[in-house]
Amino acid sequence: MIRDPKDIKRYNASERANHWVVGISFILLALSGLAFFHPAFFPLTQFFGGPVWSRILHPYIGVLMATAFTVIFFRFRHLNKVTPIDIEWLKKAKNMVDGNDHDMPEQGKYNGGQKMMFWALAGCMLAMTLSGLLIWRAWFHFDITLVRLGAVVHAAAGVTMIGFIMVHVYAAIWVKGTIRAMWYGTVTRAWAKQHHRGWYRQITGK
């Protein structure tokens, strides 16, 4: 596929691969997790070789996701510091969702919404990992009250995280020209200028 050599690099290959590991493991975890959460989704266990295999595999995939996410977290943490401009952006986010992005403040590599998503997912991921360890009976035996708490927190954080990821995915579908950054790492200059003008200036010097 021939692309414009003037396109801007947003993610390098290692960052993309890292994101895909998190993404794939998240999808597998969400499918198997929903199966344990509600009977309506129990048939999803068939994707994993049956219900018992789902139960066995789910926590190991969880460890993979937690590890890969930790790497992502430290990679992108410094780019997600919340600034006053982000707060201003968030206050106006309603207009943008409504279809009018003309008076949004200029944003760097990530806008206020993306930064909120970053920290929310980091929080969920931490809660998922800790509560998941509490209820992983193959390896751990914690006090029953902790296990009960773990089960509730795991379910609540899991559903919350699935919700956040739905927003994350939809935002990528909604903002045209975004998904290619996840596939091959580049975005067009027009895309960068429109959605992340501060970052565009920083990269191009314009």
Binding site: F37, V152, G163
Partner: protein, 294 residues
């Protein structure tokens, strides 16, 4: 297992009603702690009938042997020495599944048909559907189910559902030499208990009573206790057992709320796209870039 599928009252992780055409009577096992001599014949009978063989352990200084319930030990005698009214009392309680009317294990179980509650009150684990997640352990207020280290499946007393299905009493009842364990309709067992409690009261046990805790809707294994006001004396029998509020929150309210929220989010996103359209790069910005290139 041997009970008919028409006799199912509730099935784990199933949201539609069970067959309701026939309604057999409720049964119960009554364990009279005041008559029990701690001979463990019931443990042996259980082991024999169900073909379970717990590994031979070692003496830990008390009579409890095996020291805990396991996949191979569905009932164990708990020996407690307490001082009451200036006298030593040896309280011996046969521990095992209580067959709750509102079973926490069944409520917590995510696998359809792994836990079955029959209309006669028996709560049975169907290991072929068990996925080994241990949620039943989380749900149980009596700390009864055990996950096997060999096969990762949950086990507990079945109240000999196979025997009961063909009109026999559970193996432990059949073998008890003192008549401390009785079996019959729940109604009859309550009558028997009341007679025993009246007798115990006459003999100075003012607080004697029947343990059939309301917090779990009553149980289909009941105890006659000499100190019914303090069930905790009997190796920590819970005073008012209920399904943990955490389990209630997790398995009750949270499930439909979460499903509705996620569904609404998915549909909301779709209709946002349809009504507002995609967020594309504006013609204005495109032109600016083109001008730069020219």
């Amino acid at each position: 297992m041997a009970l008919h599928s028409l006799d199912i009252l509730r099935r784990s992780a199933t949201t539609t009603p069970a067959p309701q055409a026939r309604n057999p009577m409720e049964v119960a096992k009554l364990i009279d702690v005041s008559i029990c001599i701690g001979c463990k014949a019931c443990q042996v009978a259980c082991s024999e009938w169900n073909e379970l063989r717990e590994e031979v352990g070692s003496c830990v200084g008390v009579y409890d042997n095996p020291t805990d319930l396991s996949a191979q030990a569905w009932t164990v005698m708990r020996f407690n020495e307490v001082e009451e009214n200036g006298k030593l009392e040896w309280l011996i309680r046969k521990d095992g599944c209580m067959h709750c009317a509102d079973p926490g294990c069944l409520k917590a179980c995510p696998s359809p048909g792994a836990i079955i509650q029959y209309k006669n009150g028996i709560v049975d684990f169907h290991e072929e559907n068990c996925i080994g997640c241990g949620y039943c352990v989380t749900g149980c207020p009596f700390n009864v189910p055990r996950i096997s280290k060999d096969d990762g499946k949950a086990y507990k007393c079945s109240l000999c559902s196979d025997r009961v299905a063909v009109g026999q009493e559970p193996a432990c009842v059949k073998t008890c030499p003192t008549g401390a364990i009785q079996f019959g309709s729940k109604e009859d067992m309550i009558d028997v208990a009341n007679t025993r409690v009246a007798d115990l009261k006459k003999r100075g046990y003012d607080q004697a009573g029947l343990y059939n805790p309301e917090g779990v809707g009553g149980t289909h294994v009941m105890y006659v206790l000499h100190h019914a006001d303090r069930p905790e004396l009997y190796n920590g029998l819970p005073v008012n057992p209920t399904i943990s509020a955490l389990v209630g929150l997790w398995k009750g309210f949270a499930k439909p709320l979460a499903m509705l929220s996620l569904g609404a989010l998915a549909l909301g996103s779709l209709f946002h796209y349809v009504t507002k359209g995609p967020n594309e790069v504006s013609k204005e910005t495109e032109n600016e870039i083109e001008k730069e290139d020219a």
